[in-house]
């Protein structure tokens, strides 16, 4: 699904990623863990195409297609979804309008028929109920005045409605209490399927108790410093990141 090879990325002339390689096959969930400043968010932003994140070397492909040559909206239409660590507040745009605009833009880009209003509402109602999101909340401007937990649930609702193939979750657990974390994790787990892949970026092992990874990678010094099975996350929890030379 996702194949990254020797990727180097600079932000404002400062090298952040320095030859990162990572393969995530369809059907798998991979965790990327690492200390603050290791480049975890940069990885997510680069894959999603944030302006200002300059790729200075390497490749990144989704299902064999060069991601780096595509605009952010084209990546989304092909099935890439980045869940933001800090979801943006969009004043003046009701969440429902935002969702429908995004869904139909993606469908148009893929040459599919747009969702009609009843189809769309039926879809959103079902997904919102699973995430315990009140439909009234979706009439309010997206994320404006929402709590941290509500914002993260909105991210998961977007995933559920847009049904991406490759999900990148950037610190999805930050700012969540344990109840909200369970709701969010259930929502994410419901999306696990043989034709999807997920990259779960996290600083702490906690999230991985709820979203069980198939593989765990340590991102330190701008590259993958170690990879292993789920047990690696527990070792990190016990031993910390020091041995990977956080400031490399």
């Amino acid at each position: 699904m996702l194949s990254i090879s020797n990727l180097s990325v600079s932000v404002g002339d400062k090298p952040i990623l320095k030859g990162l390689s990572l393969d995530v096959p369809s059907g798998e969930v991979h965790a990327v863990m690492g200390p603050n400043g290791a480049g975890k968010s940069t990885l997510g932003y680069t894959l999603a195409g944030r302006p200002g994140y300059e790729v200075t070397g390497g490749t990144a492909a989704m299902l064999g297609e060069d991601l780096l040559a595509l605009e952010p909206e084209e990546r989304a239409a092909r099935g890439l979804f980045l869940s933001f660590q800090y979801p943006l507040e969009i004043p003046g745009v009701p969440a429902l309008t935002f969702l429908r605009t995004a869904l139909n833009a993606q469908r148009r880009a893929r040459g599919e028929a747009e969702a009609t209003a009843p189809e769309f509402l039926k879809l959103v109602r079902a997904k919102a109920a699973e995430l315990r999101i009140d439909m009234e909340m979706l009439k309010r401007p997206l994320n404006v005045g929402f709590s941290g937990g509500e914002k993260k649930r909105m991210e998961v609702l977007q995933m559920a409605v847009l049904a991406p193939r490759l999900l990148i979750l950037d610190e999805t657990d930050s700012g969540l209490d344990i109840d909200a974390l369970k709701i969010v994790a259930d929502g994410v787990n419901a999306l696990r399927s043989p034709d999807r892949a997920m990259v779960v970026i996290t600083h702490y092992q906690r999230l991985l108790d709820y979203i069980r990874p198939d593989r765990v990678h340590v991102l330190a010094g701008g590259r993958i410093a170690a990879s292993g099975g789920p047990e690696l996350a527990l070792e990190l929890e016990a031993g910390g990141y020091d041995r990977y030379g956080a400031a490399a």
Binding site: R50, E71, A76, G92, T101, A105
Partner: protein
């Protein structure tokens, strides 16, 4: 106290940039001689508010019926006031009296309709809202790109009266929409909102003054602007709280986006407070679209142009949220959406009229004025600021 009114037939009344209140809207620079008077003309009933009912008063080329005034003497009244400029290269002016009797309620739906090129229009409204009366004034200003258009409303109010105004404009070669309110306090309330959306080399000046003279008056003001290409937005808002006008609550906000690299916004929010125990605040920002919000929308699959349009519409739309009647709000939203998706012609030259040059000469180059209290141009980084006094 109120400054002299502009008269397009009297060159000595044409302000230039040395007149403080007109420093950014230099009439004398573009109006060199009195324009030939507009002839009599007529229009079919209609206008942008036609679907909302009410009686229509059409002032075409400055000509209104001799006894033209709008008087509301009961609840739930609606009037459509249309100012239509119908003849190229000519000038006209008109004065209309609006009277809301004590306890009465009027929805005034006003349109400035530019149906010609290179005209000069000057419209004056004398408005009185009696005690306990309510006036909601909505203005849709669609002037020609090469027109000079001036509108001024002088408003007096009784105790517990309410005056709510929302102005939407796309500007003109030089346009000013001015509102002066004499606020009696005494539980009366004023809401002055507006938005401008400027393309090409269009200029829009939203100037207002609210003069609080009595106890416990309320004023709330929100203006939002978007400037594209070489447009120029001017916001001058002054709130005066006279000695003795204790308990006044006045808020003023002006927020603009500069979306082109050659646009300009000049803003001068002023609070003059001579009373105690008042709550007054103003905020003023000029910036660019939030790039992170733009990326967020794109990362969800919304193409860049559509994402920009959505964010721009949402930004401006905030000024429309405060219109109470839903059907009126929807007309305003549709008016805005139409103009966001298809910018008006950026130059009067596109109309191919030759007569305009005689009246209006000299392209308004956007030379940045000196010593502007809050001027942002060409470098759309967040600027300006806010203040609060208590």
């Amino acid at each position: 106290m109120t400054p002299a009114r502009l008269d397009i037939t009297q060159p000595e009344t044409w302000p230039n940039r040395r007149v403080e209140d007109w420093r950014w809207t230099d009439v004398a620079r573009v109006l060199r001689e009195a324009p030939p008077p507009s002839p009599q003309a007529s229009v079919e009933p209609g206008g942008p508010f036609a679907g909302l009912g009410g009686d229509e008063l059409a002032v075409v080329n400055g000509r209104a019926p001799a006894d033209a005034r709008i008087i509301a003497d009961g609840p739930g009244q609606v009037a459509r006031l249309r100012f239509v400029s119908a003849t190229d290269g000519t000038g006209h002016q008109a004065r209309i009296i609006i009277e809301v009797k004590p306890g009465a309620d009027l929805l005034l739906l006003e349109s400035q309709e530019g149906a010609a090129a290179g005209y000069v229009a000057n419209h004056i409204l004398d408005i009185d809202v009696g005690a306990g009366g309510r006036l909601t004034r909505i203005v849709l200003a669609a002037d020609a790109a090469d027109a000079l258009a001036f509108t001024r409303a002088d408003v007096t109010m009784g105790g517990h009266a309410a005056f709510a105004q929302t102005v939407l404009t796309t500007g003109a070669k030089l346009q000013r929409i001015e509102t002066r309110v004499s606020h009696p306090g005494k539980g009366a309330s004023v809401r002055l909102d507006g938005l401008y959306l400027l393309s090409g080399e269009r200029h829009a000046d939203a100037t207002s003054e609210v003069d609080h003279t009595g106890l416990d008056g309320q004023t709330s003001q929100l203006t939002k602007g978007v400037v594209r290409e070489r447009g120029r937005g001017v916001f001058q808002g002054r709130i005066i709280v006279r000695e003795g006008a204790d308990g006044t609550d006045a808020r003023m906000g002006h927020h603009a986006l500069i979306l082109g690299d050659r646009g300009e916004v000049d803003a001068k929010p002023e609070l003059e407070i001579y009373a105690d125990d008042v709550a007054c605040a103003h905020g003023n920002t000029v910036g660019a679209l939030d790039e992170m919000a733009l990326f967020y929308l794109r990362s969800r699959g919304v193409p860049e142009a559509e994402a920009r349009a959505l964010l721009t519409e949402a930004f401006l739309g905030e000024a429309l949220d405060r219109i109470e009647r839903e059907d009126v709000r929807e007309v305003c939203r549709a008016w805005l959406a139409e103009r966001l998706s298809s910018p008006p012609p950026s130059s009067g030259a596109e109309r191919g009229r030759g007569t305009t040059r005689r009246v209006v000469e000299g392209a308004a180059q956007s030379a940045a004025p000196d010593l502007a209290p809050s001027t942002a141009s060409r470098s759309p980084s967040p600027a300006g600021g806010g203040g609060e006094e208590r």
